[in-house]
């Protein structure tokens, strides 16, 4: 570790003018200037890769999307851009499929996020008990996180099949009739929500568990001295302490559900996937974007969809901010 720069050199008395020492002190200042430059520049050099990559492949395309949205660009000739102004926005806003996809995204988002987070909260509470093999349980419930969207969607596609599906077989077994899960408007949304819930519940559980373990013990002691039951402790101590974490998971899950793509695309596969079912009953905004851009080959409207999603994201952010403010004031 010790590269030499003997400290006494820095404090050496001013040299008497001999050529040798002047050169030496010049070298000294050059060196200390280098040091100072190193000190000043290093942090920026270390964070530069992030901002360069993000700027080139994140921010620049994001802004460029707005420009493309005002043009006609076809997959067949990517270099030809023809100005159409608001035409693309006009097109998608007057397309009933867009509104269907918007509604579906919202519904599937709610149907997957709410049960997921509630179950995660309950599971985290259970895992917060002293358990035998607690690491084993944590690992098991996290296992679905290791599966890809594609494999998960394909397995559940088999489970939810109308004929020969595992779920219908079970329902038959307990005396219930067949359900055409994928064709129904609500049942197909349930199917997709189940895939999302399956993959992400364990993840959110662990986040809640981490937050629960950070709750100070004194709070529980004080509560139990006051005669609070376990349920009261959960409601009055655990939940309020977890508020920031819960808000955080809501934000993240909401953003995640806005992006749902693989689950609906692969639920039926084939051409039906790209349109989100024969009546677009489970088409999400991402699938709509894909269908316009990569299936039909019109990139202009696809970019317009991206900007619609950006608008939606800003609305969600604003709502979250308001909720956050409300939560903070009501918590006092």
């Amino acid at each position: 570790m010790a590269t030499s720069t003997p400290a006494r050199d820095a404090y050496a008395p001013p040299p008497g003018g001999s050529r040798q020492t002047t050169a030496r002190s010049r070298r000294q200042t050059w060196r200390s200037r280098l040091w100072r430059f190193d000190d000043k520049a290093s942090p920026y050099a270390y964070i530069a890769p992030f901002f360069l990559v993000f700027g080139a492949f994140g921010l620049y395309p994001l802004l460029y999307t707005g420009w493309i949205a005002l043009h006609r660009v076809e997959m067949t000739g990517l270099n030809q851009m023809e100005w159409v102004g608001w035409g693309n926005f006009d097109k998608i806003l007057h397309d009933s499929e867009f509104w269907t996809a918007l509604g579906n995204t919202f519904l599937i988002g709610v149907m997957s996020t709410v049960p997921q987070l509630l179950v995660a909260l309950g599971l985290a509470h259970l895992l917060n008990y002293r358990l035998r093999a607690s690491t084993f349980w944590r690992t098991v419930i996290l296992t679905p996180y290791a599966t890809s969207v594609a494999s998960a969607a394909l397995v559940f596609a088999l489970v939810f099949r109308a004929d020969g599906g595992l779920l219908n077989w079970v329902l038959h077994f307990v005396g219930l009739g067949d359900t055409n899960w994928v064709n129904g408007h609500w049942t197909s949304k349930i199917a997709i929500s189940v895939i999302v819930i399956w993959r992400w519940t364990g993840y959110n559980t662990l986040i809640y568990l981490a937050a629960m373990q950070a709750v100070p013990t004194d709070l529980y002691e004080a509560a139990s001295l006051d005669g609070a039951s376990r349920w009261q402790q959960f409601r009055k101590v655990t939940i309020p302490s977890l508020r920031p974490t819960i808000l955080f998971t809501i934000v993240i899950s909401t953003i995640g559900s806005m992006q749902l793509f693989g689950e609906p695309l692969l639920l039926e596969g084939g051409t039906l996937g790209a349109t989100g079912g024969n009546e677009n009953q489970y088409e999400t905004l991402s699938v709509y974007l894909y269908n316009y851009g990569w299936n039909l080959g019109h990139l202009g409207p696809a970019a317009a969809v991206a900007w619609a999603m950006l608008a939606l994201l800003l609305i969600i952010a604003a709502v979250n901010w308001l909720i956050g403010r409300f939560v903070r004031t009501s918590a006092v």
Partner: protein
């Protein structure tokens, strides 16, 4: 991990006695003092959820080892059959899965290595170095977490074809070389784990900044880098949206190949499941070996990547 003496086990109602809290310093196990013994209900509930978590994976194996007719029969099979090797073989050849595996390994390894390198550097800078604009820049990093990839894929696709990366692995690797989550994760870890004294000592010894990174920061950061590496690898391996748009049938990653397999005209379900098995199995192995670290990593990171 916890040694439970059976005599003390049935302790319900009162969450913690000062005695127990004293025995378990909460510095090492936060909140350990309040931990109640889990009753039978906890085990039953966890078992149900555990089965629910694992059943679809088991069903993948079962479906991948039978013919499609058997899988879709009125009474589906419940035990693995004998067609596994045959189905794997077909999936391997039909969907370029061999190439897809190589591609997935290349993509995930490159992304993981780059993420580890750049995120550790940036995390260290944000955690321990003073520079103008640090707070604002860190806020910027975190803000990028909320931007979905959907917002930039259209121009990204055009850019990639412009610079000749259309359909190539570079198109998937380069946009993911760094991650905001990684920077944040390393920063959180290094704030706690790296004392200023260590950096000062190295400076007094005359080490320049990069040397400090190499011989002080990296050794301290290693455990966090392990976890971040595994999380990044899992994510890169499972990524679907952008690779599906950017790559094509001739040069897919595993997930893309899987998507295309199911999008073909009459997909044979047992072959599709064989493909799903091939794409999931490597990660499951990683998970069985490093499960504990990954769990710990998610709990300490507490941010969805």
């Amino acid at each position: 991990m916890t040694t439970t003496s059976p005599i003390k086990a049935p302790e319900l109602g009162r969450p913690s006695t000062p005695h127990r809290a004293a025995r378990r310093p909460s510095r090492f196990r936060p909140g350990a003092g309040k931990q109640l013994q889990g009753g039978p209900f906890a085990y039953i509930a966890l078992t149900v959820v555990g089965i629910g978590s694992l059943l679809p994976l088991y069903w993948t194996l079962v479906a991948a080892s039978h013919t499609q007719d058997e899988v879709l029969a009125t009474t589906p099979p419940f035990l693995p059959g004998g067609r596994l090797l045959h189905n794997l073989d077909v999936a391997w050849n039909q969907a370029h899965l061999g190439k897809a595996i190589v591609n997935s390994v290349v993509v995930s390894s490159c992304i993981t290595a780059a993420t580890l390198f750049f995120c550790t550097l940036a995390g260290y800078a944000f955690a321990k170095m003073r520079f103008t604009g640090r707070g604002a820049l860190m806020t910027g990093v975190i803000a990028t977490l909320t931007i979905p990839p959907q917002l930039s894929v259209v121009p990204l696709f055009m850019m990639m074809s412009d610079i000749g990366w259309g359909g190539k692995l570079e198109a998937v690797i380069f946009p993911t070389l760094v991650s905001a989550f990684g920077v944040f994760f390393m920063r959180q870890y290094l704030i706690e784990a790296l004392p200023y004294e260590l950096i000062e000592a190295a400076k007094i010894d005359g080490a320049n900044n990069f040397r400090i990174v190499r011989s002080v920061v990296l050794p301290v950061a290693r455990p966090a880098m392990m976890v971040l590496g595994m999380l990044t690898f899992v994510q890169a391996w499972n990524d679907f949206f952008w690779p599906y748009l950017a790559l094509n049938q001739q040069n897919p990653t595993l997930q893309v190949a899987l998507g295309q397999l199911s999008a073909s005209y009459t997909p044979d379900q047992s072959i599709v499941m064989a493909g799903a098995l091939i794409s999931t199995l490597p990660l499951l192995v990683v998970f069985v070996i490093f499960g504990k670290q990954i769990v710990g990593g998610i709990m300490s990171g507490a941010v969805k990547g």
